[in-house]
């Protein structure tokens, strides 16, 4: 269920920009570059998703249980490469830059939806306007893979089925215990031992890439060495 409270946003820095790969293009600019299928001069608006995954990269333990759970409930098997949430660890890098988390942002102007030639990637009214890919309509053109402006791209390619997939907030998760979607449960949120993932109802700030990396709980006041672990460029 999407929470009512709005978690405080973590300050994002130039260092985070470099580390995160620079996916900060404003959605207005993206619309202008999107091309087909919108007619030139027209700006199509999309209903906003009723839910957004936010995370706390400082609370995360890097266990990747979310990735294993995601692939299990969607694909029926454990596979990091098919997970629609990606957590990567640089174990020899200083905290807090050692863990990067990539969640689908359920973009207000979803380029993956805009670029899909068959409508497989669509805004699902049945599931709270979550942006999801219908596997029966996907033809494997990978337009959504190329369209995603974020790095790593949030649309996931399955080389075995020859189709794309993306986070649908567990709207269509055959092995999920319970009801998924923006008004249901998400496997990643349920399984996270640290409480580092949460579903919220309000659109996170799109102005920078830090809108989704938020303060979700008790955090280190300071490192054991005495330093305050603020993000520094």
């Amino acid at each position: 269920m999407a929470g009512d409270e709005k978690p405080s946003k973590r300050t994002y820095t130039r260092r985070d920009f470099v580390v995160g790969g620079g996916g900060i293009l404003a959605s207005g600019a993206l619309t202008a570059c999107a091309g087909a299928p919108a007619e030139a001069g027209e700006e199509k608006t999309y209903a906003r998703s009723a839910g957004y995954l936010v995370y706390d990269s400082r609370l995360c333990s890097g266990c990747q249980s979310c990735m294993l759970a995601c692939s299990m409930v969607h694909e029926g098997e454990a596979c990091l490469s098919l997970s629609r949430i990606q957590v990567s660890r640089a174990v020899l890098t200083r905290y807090p830059y050692d863990i990067q988390i990539a969640v689908c942002r359920q973009c207000p102007q979803p380029l993956c939806v805009m670029q899909c030639p068959t409508g497989a990637c669509h805004v699902s009214e049945a599931f709270g306007n979550v942006r999801r890919i219908d596997p029966d309509r996907c033809i494997g053109c990978q337009a959504c893979i190329r369209a995603c402006p974020h790095r790593p791209h949030r649309t996931v390619w399955n080389p075995v089925t020859g189709k794309s997939a993306k986070c649908d907030l567990c709207a269509d998760a055959p092995w999920l215990d319970g009801k998924g979607g923006p008004d249901g449960v998400q496997a990643c949120v349920s399984v996270c031992p640290m409480g580092a993932l949460r579903l919220v109802g309000d659109l996170p700030s799109q102005a920078d890439i830090g809108g989704y990396d938020v303060d979700l709980g008790p955090r280190p006041a300071r490192s054991p060495d005495g330093a305050v672990p603020e993000a520094e460029p």
Partner: protein, 691 residues
């Protein structure tokens, strides 16, 4: 097709011939994966061909088997470790077949690459590392890596691999043969200690996941093997995906993990976990290194206090980093250890004696006694003994050992061999607390099953799951009844938990009785399968008593089969798993016997039979039955009686189906476990037991 949970094949690497091949995992599933399968592989690859005495861990014919279990990468928590099996060079006086394991992401990544394990045999003519990208395996030149520490090595391999299919790790999907990943390779490596064939060299993965005991880093070094790197883009099939996730939620709700390190919401530092785990026993937040455990590697350089001032936290971290970077087993090097206590008046131990007498403490002790030092037969060069209390001493100490400089060359072969070299092996009877086979005293006594387990296996067994202690939830009698109920098939024998150690009761129901023998046998079977083969982590399982539950009920024996059933789809009971462990345990026994193990060789170090033998710091209050009732008794004074131990051994051998005179397994026992081939080999060697 492989049973769900298993990848289906094992990678065999022959470094002499520079060849690789795939073995079918299916025939080895009967041994459970992990160390069980590693034992069977050792038999097939090292014992069966014959032609050597199986006693030199540095012989190219030795293997180092990095094996996963069926649970890694499936979403089961605390089940992502990698087992390491082979002849262990640290073990003394014989390099008994041994094992270790390490956490992190390596096991999961290896499974996703399509391998249940990688087994290395032979010796390369030049330094190499093994590179595994899904089913593509190459043996790469490691000359540029030789000499680097464990962290430098991993950074360099990541650079090399990121260039092969250009990617900025974490920010992009890397394309590997038409498949994709955002993950960097998981790497296990040695540092300079392993390169120099130190017998206490560890294998390090990531920031600080380590296989410390056994000296397997030295085995890597003897093979000119620097590292194994793996990245996997595939998947692992599980029989019941919904059931796995349900089991995980059920476990977290039903069995809160109190008393152990868990999700560190209240820690003052970032927490990290092995893949799939929820225990959070590693840390993220230190300046000097990330993903570091908070175990012996964090405290090894702490000085015995008094007479020294407590070692500062910053100095402890420096010491942690140096021992990790060099790839050394911290527990063998301890300056103080986990505890120190005043020994009993008149005891053979002498004055204040640390419970863990590591090389750092021992070197100073011998120096103060005038046994070693400048100008003496054993010089202490390059150690600045007059600066012992400074952290720089510990750094020089570690470097000297890793690089075999001066006295470091003697210490690099492990503490017990150092004592031998300086003519002080008799210290095992007094101040040198190495209970069996040259391994460190851990929390070995007074909970004697740890000590007995060390003796019957071939190392410090790391018995963290058996931590007994008084509780307000129930009486002592109820407590032991609960523990027994958690130990099928011996659920009706609460005397397995009687720690009576003096008088007739010790032999009747206590530590020398068949009850204790039965428990140690059970625990070795449990550990061999559930902890070392299925690879449930020692920090979580077994869980016999859980104080967070009003009835004290622990997760064992319900949780283990539930997880395994959900993953494998096999209707396997808890006792089935005990039998799987017994199978591998008996095969290991056959290997020990072929190596020369006999009843006569299975003896504790002399100090274990003297006052002061127990670690009298914590965990000393144990259940004791006085003949009519149970009570919690402080057993810190517990020490062993030679005759009592021999009585225990007789009972133990009989329970195991081994010849009580020799400790050799009997044919009936082996054949009932499907190990007729082992019985044949023992018979051919004239070592088949009559039991």
């Amino acid at each position: 097709m492989a049973t769900p949970g298993f990848a289906g094949k094992i990678l065999l690497v022959d470094l002499t011939a520079r060849q690789t091949r795939a073995l079918d995992s299916a025939p080895y599933e009967a041994y459970g994966g992990g160390h069980g399968t590693g034992t069977a592989l050792f038999w097939d690859l090292c014992v069966a061909p014959g032609g050597w005495d199986l006693r030199d861990a540095f012989d190219p014919r030795n293997i180092v088997a990095l094996m996963t279990g069926p649970l890694a990468g499936t979403g089961v928590a605390f089940a992502g470790r990698t087992s390491v099996s082979g002849l262990a060079p640290q073990t003394w006086p014989v390099n008994w077949f041994g094992h270790s394991n390490f956490g992190g992401s390596f096991a999961t990544m290896l499974k996703f690459a399509g391998w249940d394990g990688v087994v290395v045999q032979g010796r390369s003519e030049s330094p190499v590392y093994i590179d595994i990208i899904d089913d593509r395996v190459t043996i790469e030149d490691a000359a540029p890596l030789w000499g680097l520490d464990v962290w430098e090595t991993q950074e360099e391999i990541w650079k090399i691999e990121s260039v092969k299919a250009p990617v900025r790790y974490g920010s992009e999907w890397q394309e590997l043969g038409g498949r994709y990943t955002t993950q960097r390779p998981s790497i296990v490596t040695i540092g300079p200690a392993g390169e120099n064939r130190s017998r206490i060299a560890s294998l390090i993965h990531g920031g600080g996941s380590g296989a410390g005991q056994g000296g397997f880093g030295g085995v890597f070094g003897s093979k000119n093997l620097k590292a194994v790197a793996v990245v996997g883009t595939g998947s692992i099939r599980v029989a019941d995906p919904r059931g796995v996730l349900e089991a995980r939620k059920w476990f977290e709700a039903a069995f809160p993990m109190s008393g152990q390190r868990g999700p560190g919401r209240d820690l003052a530092a970032g927490v990290s976990c092995c893949t799939g785990c929820n225990r959070g026993c590693h840390g993220r937040s230190r300046i000097h290194g990330a993903d570091s455990d908070s175990c012996t590697e964090l405290i090894w350089a702490g000085l015995p206090s008094p007479p020294y001032a407590p070692t500062s936290t910053e100095d402890m971290w420096k010491a942690t980093d140096v021992v990790q970077k060099l790839g050394l087993n911290a527990s063998d090097l301890c300056f103080r250890g986990a505890a120190s206590f005043p020994s009993l008046p008149g005891s053979a131990i002498g004055d204040i004696c640390p419970a863990n007498t590591g090389a750092g403490w021992y070197v100073k002790r011998l120096y103060d006694m005038g046994v070693i030092g400048p100008g003496r037969e054993v010089d202490t060069h390059p150690l600045p003994m007059d600066q012992y209390e400074k952290i720089e001493f510990a750094e020089i100490f570690a470097y000297a050992i890793a690089h075999r400089i001066g006295i470091g060359d003697l210490l690099a072969d492990g503490l017990v061999r150092f004592a031998e070299r300086v003519g002080r092996i008799g210290d095992l009877d007094s101040i040198l607390r190495l209970p069996a086979w040259g391994y460190m005293d851990h929390w070995t006594m007074p909970a004697v099953e740890w000590a007995y387990g060390n003796l019957m296996d071939s190392r410090d067994i790391n018995n963290h799951d058996m931590q007994l202690g008084p509780t307000d939830l129930m009486s002592c009698e109820q407590y032991v009844t609960l523990l027994a109920a958690a130990s099928p098939p011996y659920s009706n024998d609460p005397f397995m938990f009687d720690y009576s150690w003096q008088g007739e009761q010790a032999a009747k129901t206590g530590i020398y009785s068949e009850h204790k023998a039965r428990f140690v046998a059970w625990h070795q079977h449990y550990a061999t399968y559930y902890k070392e083969s299925a690879l449930f982590c020692d920090w979580a399982m077994g869980n016999y008593f859980n104080p967070s539950n009003p009835d004290g009920r622990g997760a064992t024996p319900e949780a283990e089969p539930r997880f395994l059933r959900a993953v494998t789809g096999k209707n396997q009971s808890f006792v089935d798993g005990i039998e799987t462990g017994r199978r591998a345990w008996n095969l290991k026994r056959a290997i020990f016997v072929l190596q020369g193990r006999t009843r006569e060789t299975e003896k504790f170090a002399g100090y274990m039979y003297r006052p002061g033998a127990s670690m009298a710091n914590f965990g000393t209050r144990l259940p004791v039955y006085d003949g009519s009732e149970w009570a919690w008794v402080d057993c810190r004074d517990l020490y062993l009686d030679d005759g009592g131990v021999e009585r225990w051994k007789t009972a133990f051998y009989r329970i195991e189906g081994w010849d009580a005179r020799t400790g050799y397994p009997g044919r009936g026992t082996l054949e009932a476990l499907g190990l007729g081939h082992a019985a044949d080999a023992l018979e051919a060697a004239g070592k088949l037991g009559r039991a």
